[in-house]
Amino acid sequence: MMNRVAYFVTCIIDTIFPTIGEAAFDVLKRVGVKLEFPQAQTCCGQPAFNSGFNQEARQVAEHFLDVFAGYEAIVTPSGSCAAMVQHYYPELFRGHRREAEAQQIASRTYELTQYLVDVLGVTDVGASLPRPTRAAIHDACHGYRGLGVAHQPRLLLRNVKNLTLVEMPGHDQCCGFGGLFAIKMSAISGAMLSDKLSAINAAECDFVITGDASCMMHINGGLSRVGSNRRVMHVAEVLAGRAHGL
């Protein structure tokens, strides 16, 4: 059973942003990972967990345990979903009959750039963009503070040809997404988003890169609303050399 690596695409990327799913999958394949896609996978359970619905979250998380049992590693292009499994599964299953399983799965789950750099030791995936481009990074909260994903994407992106990274003020400031927070507390979330949009519009770059599709969806939704042409792209798209609209 060893050496099998599972790809957890996440529900948001699977359904809303399938091309990001392909991009991350292709990057992992390109560096030689024997990647499998367990087709019964759905979601890690975070939407319910973040809203306090632990019972419902556990039902979906149990399905996750079923699907991803027996893999050496589980890799996902989302800091947030990886943090849910790494950090909160042991908590969610505390005292539960499947606690040991949850702890095992937690210790084997990685965010994409974390897996590439920390586990595989890869810092150059051989990507290049069609022409010289400047991009700023938005460090998505759960990956950045929850998992310490900060240097990994920077290492990988610095080796993408034709890409220059610039640092953006407030790069680690939350965009205001927070799952249902954006809906239940939409006024506060909207104010946070507005701060983020100002920072992005002021940054001297062609686009912004982030590691979470949910934050990307949130910020791009805001940019679309205010009529800005700037866009946020997922780190996997850039590492796959696919920078749409360039």
């Binding site: 399938p18 809203s51 908590e91 927070f181 006024a187 939704g221």
Partner: protein, 466 residues
């Protein structure tokens, strides 16, 4: 609209407040980051400080008894109060006993819990807050909006107008002139006061010493000038050793204001000794529970480790946008969203645990490593168990779980919703409006049409091809 949402709406529309918050929190965050970075080892120190607090909480009743013994040995008196009402009663009795007519106060958050000023004023006792910010707030008839910077919500312009209107200060936009003006007003108050009331930052059990932390000198004046000093502390403020004090007081200064040490760290062990020339003749320490013993027994015990530095407030993007008053009670910001429901009971502050994007900036800023997001999640869980959210959300979550634990339902549901979003989004690829209960999203952002086909369908095709 519920009270919290109403306050948020008002706060977000208040341009002056937004200006003040922006200036203040930015300075606060930068000061802390710089001051923590130049220590010997910020991560190790935060852990050391955390352990100092844990050690104290583990032995809380023993340490309080030791503290009491030592305060008495130093010539002081120790009084206890189970709740806010009893705290006010105890202090009023002291005022009566000593015929107190004028009180000056150093900064104290616990007396905000009991609204002590109102209780004293109702008995005709003049109370003057002596901290510059607290004094201005008192003049304005407001409450503090920040643990360390009580008037963070006020711009200098608004402050000048207030001092002009209430006390006849010539108008100025220079904080230096406003400060000098208040200094002169306050001088008389200290000398005329019959009693000084202060808070407590740390109480060091092994010598019965009360430590306060301040920059202005008002706390020293309030605790040294009047003949009676009453210090008020929550039970959680006691610490075991002077070595623990050394690390905690330094991390407090660095986290709160970016200073290496605050200007005045006052260490008070009982009243003046018979041969000492000045200082209070009588010293009382009042120890307040007010719900803290209840918290100690729960998985929220680590919230009692808080040293009230305010770093989580400055760092929090929610606080940065709504300010302190919107939180509705004494303790604002991320730590307030935990402490308020715990101290008041969950139904008194049902929105606060949700007022966070769980971004973790608070935890990263906390000098004693309090896992604030984790506790917010647990409070949400408790609220759900107590039946808080509307039936609609409850049914929605149940249906969500049924769909998301079944690959078939998940796939079919995804196709259906995806088809709908594409239908409604049209060529631009974005929806301008979502139906309830998701309409909150589209108040300030568009929602993307789902991609087609889904990743799993693309994957299936790829496998099929090879």
């Amino acid at each position: 609209m519920d009270p919290f949402s109403r306050s948020v709406t008002i706060a977000l529309a208040d341009i002056q407040l937004q200006t003040a918050l922006d200036r203040g929190t930015t300075r606060g965050v930068n000061a802390r980051i710089g001051a923590m970075a130049e220590t010997t080892d910020a991560a190790a120190l935060r852990h050391q400080a955390r352990l100092a607090r844990e050690r104290a909480l583990n032995r809380l009743p023993d340490l309080l008894e030791q503290l009491e013994r030592n305060v008495v040995a130093n010539g002081g008196h120790v009084l206890w109060a189970r709740d806010a009402a009893e705290l006010n009663r105890v202090i009023l009795e002291l005022c009566q006993k000593h015929s107190v007519r004028r009180v000056t106060k150093g900064k104290s958050m616990v007396t905000e819990e009991s609204e002590l000023n109102h209780a004293l004023e109702a008995r005709g006792i003049e109370v003057t807050e002596s901290d510059l910010g607290e004094y201005i707030i008192q003049l304005a008839g407001e409450t503090p909006s920040h643990i360390v910077f009580p008037m963070l919500h006020k711009t200098k312009e608004a402050t000048a107008r207030l001092l002009h209107e209430k006390l006849g200060m010539p108008l100025t936009d220079r904080p230096e002139e406003m400060t000098r003006f208040v200094r002169n007003v306050m001088r008389r108050k200290y000398l005329e006061a019959d009693m000084g009331i202060s808070g407590v930052n740390f109480a060091i059990a092994e010598t019965g010493t009360i430590a306060t932390v301040e920059n202005e000198g008002n706390n020293r004046l309030s605790t040294s000038t009047p003949p009676i000093h009453v210090a008020v502390m929550g039970v959680e403020k006691v610490i075991a050793t002077w070595e623990d004090y050394a690390v905690l007081v330094q991390l407090l200064a660095r986290s709160a204001t970016g200073q290496r040490l605050s200007v005045y760290n006052n260490l008070m062990s009982g009243p003046r000794r018979p041969d000492e020339p000045d200082g209070p003749e009588v010293f009382y320490l009042v120890i307040l529970d007010n719900g803290r013993s209840r918290i100690l027994a729960t998985e929220y015990a680590e919230s009692l480790a808080c040293i009230r530095c305010g770093a989580c407030l400055n760092a929090c993007p929610v606080y940065q946008n709504i300010g302190g008053h919107a939180y509705g009670w004494v303790y604002p910001g991320p730590i307030g969203s935990i402490v308020s429901p715990l101290l008041l009971g969950p139904t008194r502050a049902p929105k606060l645990p949700y007022a966070s994007s769980l971004c973790g900036a608070c935890q990263a800023a906390c000098p004693v490593e309090i896992a604030i997001p984790d506790m917010l999640l647990k409070l949400r869980r408790d609220l759900v168990q107590a039946g808080d959210p509307t039936p609609g959300w409850r049914i929605g979550m149940k249906l969500w779980a049924i769909a998301f634990k079944s690959p078939t339902l998940y796939r079919l549901g995804g196709r259906l919703v995806g088809w709908l979003t594409r239908l409604l989004a049209g060529r631009k690829g974005y929806l301008r409006r979502l139906p309830p209960p998701f309409d909150g999203w589209t108040t300030s952002r568009d929602f993307p049409a789902f991609g087609a086909p889904s990743f799993r369908e693309r994957y299936a095709r790829r496998v099929h091809k090879t």
